[in-house]
């Protein structure tokens, strides 16, 4: 079936979620019909892409054979297989070097440390002794993290205040590779997206500020409420990291702004939730620039179009409210841009997002939150 699709740029997207879905749309706008490898016909991405293959990610090799360029929406990748395919001539972007750094957080930290980027003190967590040694050096609280990136939706870090809590998290996460890092006095969390072509030509989007609650990102504000020196440092750092990792496509560099300045938190080698605002708030969305970058096409402009922009994530609540049922109420919020992903509601699951542009942040935020509240069937406060 995929072989019948005419496509002079046979682009393959591996993924099932909203990132793959929005990448697909961006490619279609440019006249490209990507091939999608999802897992199930009900997947968010599969609902928007014709001729999708439904295979386990391990079936990558046959998919790569019919694509000129393959890209991933997530980090759940068999790295050995990716390397093997690269050696056999497949073009996978970002490639195995970048993917490895994105997937394995201790490896990522070591690279960043070796290249003299500011990262929080960290250590492997192979057992209680590592934890006790680390506590002796850096005190409590500390942060336990999963070494493997679980993709967009997964919770992967726990702040623990003492030995007992640390042991409990370790016990609960048995079977998972863990690491520890020193607790950071976080003032703000920031994200910089960089689109980078093979060869190094790169463009940064403006610094976004993310607001988290219950371990999930709830809200993204652009521009971040930071000064121009920190903004420049963040963008320069992100651009250098993209270069060090030889990234191709969009990568997202997450920072902590701490009371001791900027610290690199972690890196995602794909379009990022904090960049969905670029659909309305930039001349070129992160999805289009990812497609451009991996096909080695010129990148498009990345500046913000509005003075203020807020994206609010639509996250499944405890009660199974389906935001799609309340679409009409949300669309009544004048000027809010509603995006739903076609996913079945589940508590904690990202089901969509709302973006609003404005002349000031309060106004944009009020619009976006009102539309999100309508989708979640909450009464206005």
């Amino acid at each position: 079936m995929p072989n019948e699709l005419p496509a002079i740029y046979p682009l393959g997207i591996v993924g099932s979620g909203q990132i793959a879905r929005m990448l697909h749309s961006a490619a279609v706008q440019l006249g490209i019909t990507p091939r999608l490898m999802a897992e199930d016909s009900g997947d968010s991405a599969a609902l928007a892409a014709p001729g999708a293959s439904f295979r386990h990610p391990d079936a990558l090799s046959s998919f790569a054979e019919v694509c000129e360029v393959v890209t991933f929406e997530h980090e759940r990748v068999d790295l050995g297989l990716v390397r093997y395919l690269e050696e056999a001539g497949a073009v996978i972007r970002p490639g195995s070097t970048t993917l490895r750094a994105a997937m394995d957080k201790t490896h990522q930290r070591r690279i960043l440390l070796n290249r003299a980027f500011n990262v929080p003190p960290f250590a492997e967590l192979r057992g209680p002794d590592d934890m006790l040694d680390f506590a002796e050096m850096f005190g409590w609280p500390m942060v336990i993290k999963s070494v493997r990136s679980g993709g967009q939706a997964d919770r992967g870090s726990w702040v623990v205040d003492n030995e007992r809590d640390a042991l409990r998290v370790m016990a609960e996460q048995v079977g998972r590779d863990l690491m520890i890092e020193a607790f950071q006095p976080i003032v703000k969390e920031l994200v910089v997206l960089v689109a980078r072509r093979p060869g190094g030509n790169a463009r940064c989007y403006p610094v976004a500020e993310t607001v988290n609650a219950d371990g999930a990102c709830r809200e993204i504000r652009i521009p971040a409420a930071i000064g121009s020196r920190i903004a420049t440092e963040a963008m320069e750092t992100a651009r250098r990291i993209a270069g060090e990792l030889d990234a191709v496509g969009v990568i997202a560099v997450e920072f902590f702004l701490t009371t001791d300045g900027l610290v690199v938190n972690e890196i995602a080698a794909r379009p990022h939730n904090a960049g969905h605002h670029t659909i309305e708030n930039a001349p070129t969305s992160q999805f289009e620039n990812h497609v451009r970058a991996i096909l080695d096409f010129p990148l498009g402009p990345t500046h913000a179009l509005a003075k203020a922009c807020v994206t609010v994530n639509v996250i499944g609540g405890i009660e199974t409210v389906d935001p799609a049922v309340h679409l009409a109420e949300a669309l009544a919020v004048e000027g809010a841009h509603i995006h739903l992903y076609g996913k079945r509601p589940r508590p904690g699951r990202k089901l969509g997002h709302v973006t609003a542009l404005g002349d000031d942040m309060d106004q944009a935020r009020e619009l976006a939150r009102r539309a999100e509240g309508a989708l979640m069937n909450r009464r206005p406060a």
Copy 2:
């Protein structure tokens, strides 16, 4: 297959071209997976829509059975079948009353004339006598038109200077229903898009100016270079026509601005080529507002975002240049928005469009034309 798609708003789109393709994308963004009824898996729309049915338009009834709301991207509709399905309870938007007015230009003209809208003098053209009678009243040149709307791509009008030329066109178009209209002293051609919900709530997009050459629209400029009185008259007229036809969805009203003021040329009951700029140049695109309107959701804002906006159509040339091959060169034009439709190149065929926004028209126009020139592999002048 369509039955397996979960969709709480089962929206059906009948069509194969770029209008259906862009409608599909707009619906997907809202979390809706439309069902597409195209004709071939290589169709522009089918390349972007999963689970499409490939059937002749006459197979509409089985398609309508699985959709809550059905819409068309073109006017090649069997009106009897649409009426039959409506009587059987299908929701078809726009409905048969509006579709009939859009499809049959003499019927459309009569409605407009009865409601006291300015239209050019016209008559049926059943044979040479009609033509001679009309020439006696209105002189030469006159315009011969096809009564049935052929959809977006088809040429349907011929300016003739004398009896011999008129007879030649009539002979060439044998088998087609024709009409005649008095030649209009056209100063500008204008288009107003109106999105209208069931019940009458409606919004207008700003007046667009279309620039034609060789019988095809080459360029669209927003705002039109007209004064505010004419702009208001055009928008009010378009809004009233939408009401008179009980239109639901987006309708496009094409005007001639003549040396004797505004005249209604014709009406299309669907998103229109002159509205593609709304993807970048309005808070809500014509495609999203069409989806909102036919599902009876609140309409989104329709104002222009940029001071000046130009869309240039990418039209297949005599030599079979495939614009997709030159995508990289076009993407290098900073700030141009490239849209390709995935269609095979053919002379005269609309293969895509380029939109550019700017602070003045010359700048926007230069950008859009440069990108279009790159796609068509023309050297810059």
